[in-house]
């Protein structure tokens, strides 16, 4: 019983050491999972994860916690399905209940061209072993009885891509679980420690300077930030094809359980699911202009709510409790930027996470750790290298990721 109420700190307050093997900038799910897999899989434990605010204070705490693998490109499906598999085992791996509910994920189509897009995704998914298929309004109605599948709406529901293994997870718990795992394996997390500059000598990263004043030496620095990935990369003169847009979401008062699927409509720019507490979480498309402001706007709230009511007319009396914004680093092809940079040793990118970063946390952590430990880029992340823009080999996921789900 005492063990049940034990007061064990999940992470400690450390003094910064003068030297680390690896410094990770950004203590969200990506930064922490990199440090975790470095220690666990590769025995590299002299690692510090730095963050300018509290753990998970960026987009790891602002996303809408949806996990799925039903992407459109072969590269994307391989990558995200590996992440989904890691998420399925993650509660056991971290010995921490992450409340992962694989409730199933529906992407709705309201036009013929959108239906064609779903067919293509379904076939790519099936060929690569991801459970997803196209279903029609009668089956959609059985899965989601509250959804309006009639001809009444301006854009009636024509079909859906049903991805049964998709679901939602407790996003803060993922951050805390990884942070505890990092500390248990000997790494360190340093919240409220902002990196001001990164030192480079002869095309080799040598360390970072923080707002605490000390110089920290490290031969490998990982940029695992979101929202500030351009700012951090500029410290070493690396250009990124990234534009930062806010994305807003909101949550309603709790209702009785009536919706046990994630429902996404790319045509209507909205996605909806019901949490374990009964609240509806609803999100939108990215804001139509770039910004670093995490504030929310009435226009976006009106758009989210109006479109959610098209799908679920029964919600018209439900009140919205909170609305918030997070920062999405949008890339031209809606795929991330992972791996090393040409001409600069020791600087590793795990950025450009647009609207799909949270669901990829475990796989990018595992594979970036493998890259750092073995000095070889793993096949599953090679398509996402920065130089793909120079080589004209983009990985276009816009059709499967453009509405942030």
């Amino acid at each position: 019983m005492r063990a049940l109420f034990r007061k064990e700190k999940m992470w400690q307050r450390h003094k910064l050491k003068p030297r680390y093997d690896v410094v990770v900038i950004g203590a969200g799910v990506h930064g922490l999972s990199i440090a975790y897999y470095l220690a666990k899989n590769h025995n590299i434990t002299n690692v510090a994860v730095l963050d300018k605010v509290y753990l998970g204070g960026g987009n790891s705490g602002r996303n809408t916690a949806i996990i799925r693998a039903n992407y459109m490109t072969v590269e994307g499906v391989h990558f995200y399905s590996e992440s989904l598999k890691l998420y399925e085992e993650l509660s056991k791996e971290l010995n921490f209940n992450l409340l992962f509910s694989q409730i199933g994920h529906l992407s709705l189509a309201h036009t013929d061209s959108a239906v064609n897009g779903l067919w293509r995704r379904a076939e790519v998914n099936k060929a690569l072993g991801v459970n997803s298929r196209v279903i029609w309004p009668d089956e959609i109605k059985r899965l989601v009885p509250a959804l309006d599948t009639s001809d009444r709406p301006r854009y009636p529901v024509k079909a859906a891509l049903y991805h049964a293994p998709g679901g939602v997870i407790r996003h803060d718990a993922v951050v805390w679980g990884y942070a505890r795992g990092v500390e248990r394996h000997g790494g360190e997390v340093h919240p409220r420690t902002e990196v001001i500059t990164i030192d480079v000598k002869d095309h080799q990263v040598t360390g970072v300077r923080t707002d605490k004043g000390e110089v920290i030496r490290a031969d490998c620095v990982v940029n695992a930030t979101s929202g500030w990935c351009t700012t951090v990369s500029k410290m070493v003169g690396v250009d990124l094809p990234v534009v930062t847009h806010p994305l807003q979401a909101c949550v309603t008062e709790p209702l009785k359980p009536f919706l046990d699927k994630v429902v996404v409509s790319a045509n209507l720019h909205v996605y909806v699911y019901q949490t374990d507490r009964g609240e509806l979480v609803m999100g939108s498309e990215i804001d139509p202009y770039s910004s670093y402001s995490q504030g929310s706007t009435l226009e976006t709230l009106e758009s989210i709510v109006a479109h959610a009511l098209e799908l679920f007319p029964g919600l018209r009396h439900v009140r919205v409790l909170r609305q918030w914004g997070g920062l999405c680093d949008m890339t031209p092809d809606y795929s991330p930027i992972l791996g090393e940079v040409d001409g600069l040793k020791g600087f590793v990118l795990d950025v450009g996470w647009g609207t799909y970063g949270f669901k990829a946390g475990p796989v990018s952590g595992k594979r970036i750790a493998e890259l750092i430990a073995t000095k070889r880029t793993p096949d599953v992340i090679r398509p996402f290298r920065l130089s793909r823009f120079r080589e004209d080999r983009l990985v276009s996921e816009k059709g499967a990721a453009a509405v942030s789900h």
């Binding site: 250009d239 990124l240 139509p288 670093y292 706007t297 823009f389 120079r390």
Partner: protein, 78 residues
Amino acid sequence: MGFLLECPNCGKRDVYEFRFGGEAHKRPRVNSSSEEWMKYVYMRENVAGVQQEWWFHRLGCHKWFLAIRDTRDNSVSI
């Protein structure tokens, strides 16, 4: 927060009347290297601070114009 933009023809209007055209950057010459063209097409300054950017008055006079905005708090200075 939403904000107001000043259209040269129509004056101050709500930002949702406009289409964002991205940060202003210079187009390379035709005979520039492919590296320069790659940077022009893909790479962005993405400043956390004051930037000059294009806007289009979508629900108004259809004028394209440049504005200066602080991307941290969306305050517009021109």
